[in-house]
Amino acid sequence: MDSQAINQILQKHNYEHSSIIAILQDLQEKENYLPEEDLEYLSERLPMPLTRIYRIATFYNAFSLTPRGKYLVNVCLGTACHVRGAARVLDRIKMYLGIDVGEMTKGKLFSLETVNCLGSCALGPIVVIGNEYHGQMTPAKVESTIKKYRKKSSRKKDEKD
């Protein structure tokens, strides 16, 4: 991200060290993850030791230090989804995409993550892809659901996965 955009974020938070979590959240909203060079720039400007920034960025689950794919596949592993078979859905997604949780597919189309509860328990097991909720998921529905996004993407000729 260009340094001006980062400066804007820092100004919004008044260069306050106590706002470091909010600063990183704003940064990640723009970039989808926290790029190393941006964190180095932050460290200089705040100023705050880079180790402390990394301590925050690695402590909180919300932050990612690696790029995320175009579509984030988020599998809810809340207790309600779990008793309705979320683990099997996750296993099937891992197998179909060929990646583990926290990884991205080679074509940068999908990233796979899990969340502790989305609070939409009536729809469980639930998988969110991008901003769209897919409720009452079963292992059998995984392939057709994800394929739609693949098609959508290839239609736009963005990239092939």
Binding site: A62, A80, Y133
Partner: protein
């Protein structure tokens, strides 16, 4: 809205709002909580708006998008007022028909009504639906009446009259005394008396006091705080301002879970409205009270629900708890006296002030007063948020309100208290639900998650699930919590994979003791609860896994085999098509077979089979 300078002006504005509004004017209320958003309720709202515009009916009916109504199972939910006609699973295509039939011709649409599962009767009014009938929705019920983004709606139902009453008639000590006499206990899990906490904080020495609303609702399967903050943010804010007055604080924080964008948005809107009309900021209602509230988003760490970790996070630190030799009411945020309560606790405050201590204490049990909101989820017919008086039995919640277990399932256990709680077996579901009774049976109230489990739920797998959660969420500060939960997970994981050994149960019990005794914060101290309660009530299941290498519920992959019942199989080929490992073979008209060597036990075939032909043994 214009600035409100004193309590009289507030009453005048309330009168103006009420005179402008005709209580008999038809109003279409559409649930727009996060649950209904997942069902794309905004398209339903759009369809209603378009239809009303098309027919030029803007003057004769209102539309209101409200917070969560609680009956998430049946979303998107639409209620037609003033008759309170309850329509469920409404699609955008239904909008036109609802307007022409129900609003213009006064007739109901059978297809959209709720059908009583036992009698088959169609139920018209919201209050008559069994899910709502058994509830006592004194806090949560307002969600369905107001648009959370409109302060006028909250004022119209009596909002901020409790604040006005407190500021004109009560001294801070009298407020504290009222909350103490109401016996309100913290709804976040611990159940500590709120009035006592407020008093200690008020009396603590310091030039500045803080109040905090804990909205970092991390228990998986619990979402009542989110729905309150989303659906009625002003009730929480009013509680906080009253608390600030009683405690002597001029600065407050709301710490919201990162995964709750709608709650962050709605509470932000509400705070802006309060500032605009002078109910927040300097000289509130002309009484000299100054108070400001800031909203902080969490970073997705479960441990930040613990008060000292939350305060560390607000300070921009990693969210690690500290020892509480000195309580946070004396030295909390920035080492200043700090009073932290959770969302639901704050929302109780205006109600206690408005309706009085006598009314409040008439609800509930000897030691737990008032109502409690539970999120009733899992293997239950009516998933949703239910508000019930303390002392109601689990049986009433699960069977009468929740409508029992789906399919042919049989209730096995109810899990309460999130990862700190335990599993209560079916044999104990007649105990009254309150703080102390739940603790007595080895679980706890927690923040209000209630996960229903049936005979297809493996209790060893549930223990493994919570240990996996806790080992990931342990902040790592205490060795016993960091390594203890990990070691316990490894043992239980081994048991589910058929590698259990004699002595494992005893080892788990010993580790549980060490983890709970030697960890600093509640996360570690209560971490063994899911294991201990499942061992206590379901030891036979552990033993079946360890000795017989068998999972009675048919869940643990390594211990089960999938078989096709040749009698039931119609050779339709559906299972064969969805099997990702090509383990199913069979020609047309010949019952299919599963190759156990190739089968990865993913469960795809079971979900797909229409004839119940696939068995787990």
């Amino acid at each position: 809205m214009r600035r409100i300078n004193n309590p009289q002006e507030l009453e005048k504005i309330r009168e103006e709002i009420l005179t402008r509004r005709d209580p008999n004017k038809p109003c279409i209320t559409i649930c727009s909580g996060t649950g209904c958003h997942a069902y794309v309720c905004e398209k339903v709202t759009e369809a209603f708006r378009a239809e009303i515009r098309k027919r030029g009916l803007e003057e004769s009916m209102d539309i209101r998008t409200t917070g969560c109504h609680g009956f998430c199972e049946r979303g998107p939910v639409v209620v037609i007022n003033p008759e309170k006609i309850f329509y469920q699973r409404v699609t955008p295509e239904d909008a036109g028909e609802i307007i022409s039939e129900t609003l213009l011709k006064n007739s109901t649409i059978d297809r959209l009504l709720y059908t009583h599962p036992q009698t088959g009767e169609k139920i018209v009014r919201e209050d008559d639906v069994p899910f709502y009938k058994g509830q006592m929705r004194v806090i949560f019920g307002n969600n369905g009446k107001i648009d959370p983004t409109k302060i006028e709606d909250y004022i119209a139902i009596g909002g901020y009259s409790a604040l006005s009453k407190v500021l004109t008639e009560f001294s801070p000590e009298e407020v504290i005394d009222t909350i103490k006499r109401s016996a309100l206990r913290g709804r976040g899990g611990g159940g500590f008396p709120a009035g006592v906490k407020w008093e200690s904080c008020r009396n603590a020495r310091g030039d500045k006091h803080y109040v905090i609303c804990n909205a970092d609702e991390g228990d998986p399967g619990a979402y009542m705080d989110r729905s309150l903050l989303e659906g009625n943010p002003h009730s929480v804010l009013e509680g906080m301002i009253i608390g600030a007055y009683a405690i002597g604080s001029d600065e407050g924080y709301i710490y919201v879970r990162n995964e709750y964008p709608l709650a962050v948005r709605n509470v932000g809107i509400a705070i802006d409205q309060l500032r605009d009309c002078g109910l927040l900021g300097e000289n509130i209602l002309g009484t000299g009270l100054d108070f400001e509230i800031k909203v902080n988003r969490g970073g997705g760490a479960f441990v930040c629900g613990e008060s000292t970790a939350l305060m560390a996070s607000l300070e921009g630190q990693a969210g690690e708890p500290r020892a509480k030799h000195i309580h946070t009411v004396e030295s909390g945020l920035w080492d200043k006296p700090t009073n932290l309560n959770n969302v639901e606790t704050w929302a109780n405050v205006p109600l206690i002030i408005s309706r009085g201590v006598n009314w409040y204490t008439s609800i509930g049990t000897e030691t737990s007063k008032g109502t409690k909101i539970f999120s009733l989820v899992g293997k239950v017919n009516n998933t949703g948020l239910v508000e019930v008086p303390m002392g109601i039995t689990i049986r009433q919640i699960v069977h009468d309100i929740g409508g029992g277990i789906p399919g042919n399932g049989k209730l096995k256990a109810v899990q309460t208290g999130g990862p700190s709680g335990g599993c209560i077996p079916e044999s104990l579901i007649d105990i009254p639900v309150d703080f102390d009774k739940l603790t007595e049976v080895g679980s706890m109230m927690g923040s209000g998650g209630m996960i229903v489990m049936d005979d297809r739920t493996c209790m060893v797998d549930i223990a493994k699930y919570f240990l996996n959660f806790l080992k990931d969420e342990s902040c790592g500060k205490c060795t016993t919590c960091r390594d203890g939960t990990r070691r316990m997970y490894e043992i239980v994981d081994g048991i589910t994979r058929g590698e259990g050994r004699a002595g494992d149960i005893e080892l788990l019990e010993e580790l549980s003791w060490v983890v709970s005794e030697a960890s600093l914060c509640a996360l570690g101290q209560t971490a063994p609860n899911p294991v201990l309660s499942t061992i206590r009530y379901f030891k036979d299941e552990y033993e079946a896994h360890i000795k017989d290498k068998r999972c009675p519920a048919g869940v643990c992959k390594a211990l089960i085999t999938y078989l096709i019942d040749e009698e039931k199989c119609t050779a339709c080929g559906r299972c064969k098509r969805v099997c990702p490992s090509e383990a199913i073979t069979g020609e047309k008209k010949v019952p299919h077979k599963i190759d156990p060597e190739k089968c990865i036990r993913c469960g795809a075939c079971i979900a797909e089979c229409k004839f119940d032909a696939i068995e787990v043994v």
